[in-house]
Amino acid sequence: MHPPQRLGFHAFGDRDDPLVQYEGAAEAQTRYLRCYLHDLSARSLVIEPNYFDRDYLSEFAAFYATSSAGHRNICQRVHYFSIDVTHAMFVSALRGEEGVRTKVQEAYLGHVVIRPILGAPIGRTVLRTYPDEQGRTPRMMQAFRTYKAHIAGLTLTVEGLAWQQQDEAVGSCATVALWSMLHSSAFDEHHAIPTTATITALGHSSAPTGLRTYPDSGLQLPQVLGVIKEQGLAPLLVKGDLEHQQFSRVLFCTLLGSLLRSGYPVLVSGFLDAEGMDQPEMHSVCVVGFRSTAPASVDDGTWQLDDQNLKHIYIHDDNLGLNARFCVRDVSDGDPTSTAIQLVPDSPDPRNGPWPCPNPAKKFYELTPHEMIVAVHHELRTNPFTLQEKLVPFVEWLPAALAHEVEQQSLQPISGDVSDASLREEDGSADVPVVGEGMFATGMLVGTRFIRLRDYLDKELGTLLPGQDALLASARLALWEEVPPMSLYIGLVRVSLGSAPMVDILFDTSDSDRHLQPTAYIAFHRRVPFLLKRWSDEVQPVDLGILIRAWAD
């Protein structure tokens, strides 16, 4: 029987901090986590010396229990805080002192499970992200979920997505990336999250290779896809579109943006070249988020996919750590449709003085993506690349029609038409662009994502039409009463002028791609249906389905 032990209270980074103790066993991961926690202003930690971890127990049952090394089946769990949490403070929180509980919760940074495996000690780890700085473009982490940690009756919560180091016995990098991917909040209502041992076993049963299951020899792509299917989800696989199966910027970034905004983390496989490696090797990581970019300037009368200029994405890499910031780097200058991209670590500078140890994210490391694999709900029968391919005739007419009318009617901005200066960003871009050689700007951005119909009606329309209760109610009711029944998940295509939405086009996703077409469109300005009718009557017909009015008179 495991002996009972007291909780441990220590300063962050002291010799009792397991991230310091285990540096020799997992140098890159422990150093990365120490630098990350340092940037989160970590000051103290509480160690639960006895913690049964669901994932490790599964690994233990699958492999370690029969090892003659005598591995233990119990872990430690280490909780990090941005204040000095003492024994006395903790006891106050356990007594139910609300002020102390709140203080401890607000300072809670997350936890790290320490497995009793000397070669791979870092188990399930969930840590919060750095604060999203004000005045900058928002960070998108839609897949994050809330994790609860219970310690002696005190419940602490942290937002994030779980990560762990691969142990090479039960899980490889692909196993760990899949495991993180299946933690997404998008699947909350769907299924139990599989353990790494379950993932490896499912991979070998769904697509046998003849290789042994344990110790794990790495998953092949059909096995990765098989695991997703075994989980009751649908796998999507996208190959790079350029020579040698590399990805162009436009394909990689816009797909990534669309999938991550839909709540689906993306497993990216490719060739890794890093310091200390003799030659590039295949590697898999899980992309969990990205930093959105300023709306691009688009040529008049044309359109461009949103997100194609992504600079930073956030990656769970078992070689490194969680939420690691990577730069999407162009291999050469040129057209975003023909220039290959690579992913390289690009950690921000230290936020709280020098890091306590060398940051492995600063070493040479480049990943050249070749495949993207995603798990989506099986009710979703299309995919973002088909949606982005098929949307063209339904969006191209709007900027063209607007530019044509502006030219034919010789429209020019008059004084005061320029957007409110208070709405302009530091770089001078505007909410509704009207600048450019004394002419109205007419180029538009097109974004895509998948969303539950109920969430579109509730959250998305609510965000679009704040404070316009009657309009919001009538738009919601019209979508419910006037549009033929739609699928559980809809393909949402938004056309925006600057960041101002012009129209949302809704695609049913429950049929074959041959029938992928709009069911309804929500116009946010009365001139949108006017332009559509003119274009359809005079130039060429465009059918966007049922019109939903969402403009204020």
Partner: protein
């Protein structure tokens, strides 16, 4: 990207619908439509600009051809 007063950050996905869009507000709905050929030519120019994007998204996916081990 726009930062609204109060620090709220805005992208095309969390923007609010604008009641006032100057270029749309300025359109004369009674003006006769003219220049069909010019409109079609403009559309063709737009298509030429986006054709590489469309080609990228038409990439075919062949799962069976990929059997590389991923470690």
């Amino acid at each position: 990207m726009v930062t609204k007063p109060g620090g709220q950050k805005v992208s095309i996905w969390n923007a609010t619908a604008s009641k006032r869009v100057p270029v749309l507000d300025a359109l004369d709905v009674n003006a006769p439509f003219r220049g069909k050929a010019a409109a079609l030519a403009r559309l063709e120019r737009s298509r030429a600009k986006s054709k590489n994007v469309v080609r990228a998204f038409a990439t075919k996916v062949h799962v069976a051809s990929i059997r590389k081990p991923v470690k």
